[in-house]
């Protein structure tokens, strides 16, 4: 057991910080105020991710045969931390490199690999994730979007909801039911669906969490070639589980939360308020929550580095991250007081960024179920 960074890791962090200084525009704060899903950030992400790709950093953790350089998981974790901390300039492309690419590597045909992996590793393609449906949220396996075989194609009908990033997406990692006779986990398949097909309609959902934050995707008689199916028919659940095991620690929200706490403290110091012991306690508490989330995320990265199978420790990390994020979001509102009520203000932006922490990529309750069953060995209800 040791907790030091290698010389190479330290240098990478420095190089990255230097790169960010140059690569982020002057008005980055304005560009990033609505999160990685906004039009502004989606557009910027293609330019930015391209630059990361040129330096070999975008998919460095991928195997070299797919455009990576076999870098250890730690390198990618350092990159993810730096990216989230500054508001995710990769936009939605963090999903591509975290789990969509790896899922295609594992289950994709040669044609799919060559079509998608090269584009992802160049940084010029946007994906969205078509999972949730109006009646399939936490209970995702009850999804009903139907894909019926029609010769070489599927005819897809159904509706997805809470979809982020889809208004600008080129492709959707779409979960569909290919066998309506099979219930639950069986009978689900994954389609790598181009978003420009006829019958795909995206509607923004008006939401307090932010503009362009999430959407409904209506699928009406969409003809999707069977060659777009990822992996075997009806095996989509295994593929999704494989993909998502990467995602619980894929977005290090604690990094942004930690940076926000620093900002809050600097702001308080500038206003001469940092001598207030009560404020010191709140800031110290928030910092401790961020640090716990960080060390628990690191533990999962370490397990991956050792080639250990995924465990409930990733759910533990996720809960710690959520706790940090929510506490910091509330503190951000509190510290700037009524100024936070202005849309786009620092307090407001940070609060809105924190709001989805306990819901996106698996709710707190689902994560707690998995910890209770897999880590604590408690019986299912």
């Amino acid at each position: 057991m040791e907790f030091g960074w290698s010389e190479g890791d330290r240098k990478f962090r420095q190089d990255l910080a230097k790169f960010l200084e140059e690569a982020l525009p002057e008005d980055w704060e304005e560009v990033s105020k609505d999160g990685p899903g906004s039009d502004a950030q989606a557009a910027f992400s293609k330019e930015f991710s391209g630059k990361l790709a040129e330096r070999g950093w975008l998919t460095q953790h991928w195997p070299s045969e797919y455009g990576g350089s076999d870098a250890p998981p730690w390198r990618h974790a350092i990159l993810s931390e730096a990216m989230w901390a500054c508001g995710e300039p990769r936009g939605p492309q963090y999903m591509n490199v975290n789990w969509i690419g790896p899922a295609i590597m594992e289950y994709g045909s040669e044609a799919q690999k060559s079509e998608h992996l090269s584009r992802i590793s160049r940084g010029d393609v946007l994906w969205c994730q078509g999972f949730s449906e109006p009646n399939a949220g936490s209970d995702l396996v009850s999804l009903t979007t139907r894909a019926e075989p029609r010769g070489d194609d599927y005819l897809v009908n159904g509706q997805k909801i809470w979809t982020s990033y889809c208004q600008n997406a080129d492709f959707c990692f779409l979960l569909v039911r290919t066998n309506p006779q099979e219930r639950r986990h069986r009978g689900i398949s994954v389609l790598l669906m181009p978003m420009d097909l006829a019958g795909v309609e995206v509607r923004e959902i008006d939401a307090v969490i932010g503009d362009r934050y999430f959407h409904e995707v209506f699928l009406t008689d969409v003809v999707v070639p069977k060659s777009c199916r990822l992996g075997p028919e009806n095996e989509g659940w295994a593929i999704t589980s494989y993909a998502l095991q990467f995602e619980r620690v894929g977005a290090p929200r604690y990094a942004r939360a930690a940076l926000t706490v620093d900002l809050l403290a600097e702001n308080a110091a500038a206003g001469g308020r940092l001598a207030d012991p009560n404020l010191q306690e709140k800031l110290g508490h928030a910092r401790a929550l961020c640090e716990a989330a960080r060390v628990l995320h690191y533990r999962v990265i370490d397990q991956r580095t050792h080639g250990l199978p995924p465990s409930a420790d990733s759910n533990v990390a996720r809960i710690a991250g959520t706790m940090a994020d929510l506490a910091v979001g509330e503190l951000a509102l509190e510290i700037w007081g009524s100024e936070s009520l202005v849309y786009g203000s620092v307090g407001d932006s940070n609060f809105r960024a924190s709001m989805s922490a306990g819901i996106a990529t698996g709710t707190t309750e689902v994560n707690l179920n998995l910890i209770a069953q897999r880590l604590l060995g408690l019986p299912r209800e």
């Binding site: 057991m1 040791e2 030091g4 306690e281 640090e291 370490d302 060995g377």
Partner: protein
Amino acid sequence: MDFELNTDQTAILEAVETLLARQAGPERARELNAKGGYDAELDAALEAAGFTELVQGNDTGPLEATLVLEAVARHAGFVAYGATALVAPASGHTLAGPVALALAEENGPVRYGASARTLLIFDSQGVRMRPLEPGEAKPVRANFGYPMAWVPRDGGDRLSPDVALRMRAWSRVALAAEAAGTMKAALDFTIAYVKQRKQFGRAIGSFQALQHRLAQAAVQVEGSRWLAYEAAWSNAPNEAAAVAAAYAASATQRVFYETHQQNGAIGFTREHDLHVWSMRLQALRLEMEGVAGHQRAVSRARWIRAEA
């Protein structure tokens, strides 16, 4: 960066687990609680096996001592291992053990005070080392799982402020590790209990309403443990030490509540093992300025950067 134990660490932990399984545990704790004593035999066994010298060792250091401290706490050891083996070495002096810690500006009794031969008194200027003669400390009845005593807080040799700061940081790392081990044992005990306790025709541990709360507590226990290890490995930087203590001390509150709530009334009895660990959590929560004190120390270390 490597979260797995290396061969030496595995060997140390296996050896100390074996020793503790034989010489510590809830039965022994219950016995010592009743007579208000100190486990001099366990202390001697730990010393004979070299566990009290890990910080000064050639191939070992504070991380190994922290791993041992967490184990001692899990087994409810009645020894001042943290103050003696982890905090005292930072003084640069060889102090007669057991060592106890006190704050000058507080009046309450301190853990292991009556058995300590050296008292470290932290005050606003730093720290003083004060030998304790037999009879100087007065044992007092307390219900919080440790032998407690009133101690004199006058006199003693003052160490330099820098050294005092280092010792304060180590006291926070020790507190975090001790809290982590104690919480882990209380939680594990509770998990075993809710798996076998049946009400409404089923194990109460099958109710999601209870599961979620235990799972939340488990997150905090794990966070405390890893923050303590990381701070120990990094040589107790002021900020990391305060972060570990702030997080762990705050977690004790929730773990105490959940473990007692889910054990029900039997959890308050002395025949049931829970209290051996749970009551200690409250003593740890208050120690060395308590949760709020550690939180303020985080702020000072990170954003004010004066003394922490």
